[in-house]
């Protein structure tokens, strides 16, 4: 029952999380920051604006992206196979990339290109993440991970790699070149306006829930460890976001492939042979 409520309210929870995050980042910079419910105010305002469609297919793909991500969260919480979840998440990203290519806009194409580049960095890590749990649990079954013991200490290098993935996926500096606002004006999201931008905006909230639930898996059935872990990751991500500047997309690829995939791979080798 609790799980179903969690899945149904995933976008709401993600919005709350983003509100808390904006407040936290403001406090880190020693300023007041927006109210906690600011993401929802933005949402209502976007709904009320005059609608604007650039291209029908473009708009439909954004809605598909949002719905698929929501399904990903549902599968991650209620489903049974971690590998399916990772691949369905890949499908959601592909919808976003197709959306980016479906309009005649240079920045949108650039954004879609970059989306594919960063995909090449984080997707191997996510798959190795599933493999690591397979090696420890003997299956990809999510329910056995949720009810099993905490694997955080066997998976420390992978945990570091996942922090890197979270930075890329949630668009935090130094790894936010895919959505860089001052550079390519948001990339894929540039051509959306009004209520249709709302879907991409909410997709970001669902992405938050997806990433943090992945971190939850490290703690297994240990509730206390899970809460400490999530709070720690939340503060850490925002600290890194506030303290660093964006790096170029080519450097992102290098750092991501060497450190992200490298650490995850070392972890797998360690699990196999040590």
């Amino acid at each position: 029952m609790f799980e179903i409520i969690f899945v149904l309210s995933a976008p709401l929870l993600g919005g709350m999380l983003q509100g808390i995050e904006r407040q936290l980042r403001a406090r880190m910079q020693n300023r007041m920051g927006p109210p906690l419910l600011q993401p929802f105010y933005d949402m209502f305002k976007l709904i009320e604006k005059r609608p604007m469609i650039v291209d029908e297919a473009h708009t439909v793909f954004a809605i598909m992206h949002f719905l698929t991500l929501w399904a990903v969260v549902a599968m991650l919480v209620l489903g049974d196979n971690l590998l399916y979840v990772i691949f369905l998440h890949l499908l959601a990203t592909i919808f976003l990339v197709i959306a980016g290519y479906s309009v005649k806009s240079v920045y949108s194409h650039l954004g879609a290109n970059r989306e594919l580049w960063v995909l090449a960095v984080y997707e191997p890590v996510l798959i190795l993440f599933a493999v690591a749990f397979y090696l420890l649990e003997g299956s990809f079954s999510l329910q056995s991970i949720y009810s099993g013991q905490a694997h955080l200490f066997a998976l420390l290098p992978l945990f570091a790699a996942m922090v890197l993935v979270a930075l890329i996926k949630l668009g935090k500096s130094p790894f936010d070149a895919a959505h860089a606002h001052q550079e390519i004006i948001g990339g894929v999201e540039i051509e959306y306006g009004g209520v249709f931008y709302e879907f991409l905006y909410m997709a970001k909230w669902v992405e938050y829930i997806f990433i943090y639930t992945l971190f939850w898996l490290f703690a297994g059935s240990n509730l206390l460890l899970g809460i400490v872990l999530l709070a720690g990751v939340f503060v850490l991500l925002n600290l890194i976001d506030n303290a660093t500047a964006r790096i170029k997309i080519s450097d992102l690829l290098k750092v991501g492939l060497i450190w992200g995939v490298g650490l995850a791979f070392i972890n797998i080798v360690g699990l196999l042979y040590v």
Binding site: P35, L46, K49, M52, H181, Y197
Partner: protein
């Protein structure tokens, strides 16, 4: 009572455009958005994307080179929207008035809602002006607002307003110059 209209003044996304200013006012605007003056506490974000913005913050006296850009950016913003002219040169031409390559003020091209004086406008003025714009936003309708020059008739595509068609014609001689 819960009304969607009430949220217009809770959340404001800004498009900032420099129509040939000396950069003095632009720096003040960025200072307002930064930690010291913290405009984000009113829900203000600098989006830099006309399709997602509610307010056009414009600086500079409008040089001949930037006229079409101003009009085009304005037409790309979905209604309701407000325009805030920041700095004396944006309001009247200021130190540039009467020069051979500038227009005196942005209101010859697009309707302006709030004028912020000062050369450069101080952050306090800018914050006041932006909040004034927020109040005006509540009374705006969702009708299409037309620029005053460089703009032809609205074009339609299957009963919808065709913004791409409009943007393609921005800058063609409209017989008013």
């Amino acid at each position: 009572m819960f009304k969607l209209k009430n949220f217009r003044k809770r959340s404001l996304w800004i498009l900032h455009y420099n129509a040939g200013s000396c950069n003095g006012c632009d720096i003040e605007i960025l200072a307002c958005l930064g930690p010291t003056y913290d405009l984000e506490r009113f829900g203000v974000l600098n989006r830099g994307n006309p399709k997602q913005s509610d307010m056009l913050l414009i600086t500079g006296p409008v040089t001949y080179r930037s006229r079409e850009r101003v009009v085009e950016l304005f037409t790309q913003m979905p209604e309701p929207k407000v325009v805030v002219a920041v700095g004396s040169c944006t309001c009247t031409g200021g130190v540039f008035s009467g020069m051979y390559n500038v227009e005196d003020g942005v209101d010859k091209y697009i309707p302006v809602d709030v004028y912020i004086p000062g050369c450069a406008a101080t952050p306090e003025y800018i914050i006041d002006g932006v909040l004034k714009g927020l109040e005006l936003l509540e009374h705006k309708s969702k009708e299409i607002v037309k620029p005053k020059k460089l703009f032809k008739k609205l074009s339609f595509h299957k009963d919808h307003i065709d913004r791409r068609g409009i943007a393609g014609k921005v800058g063609e001689n409209d017989g008013k110059d």
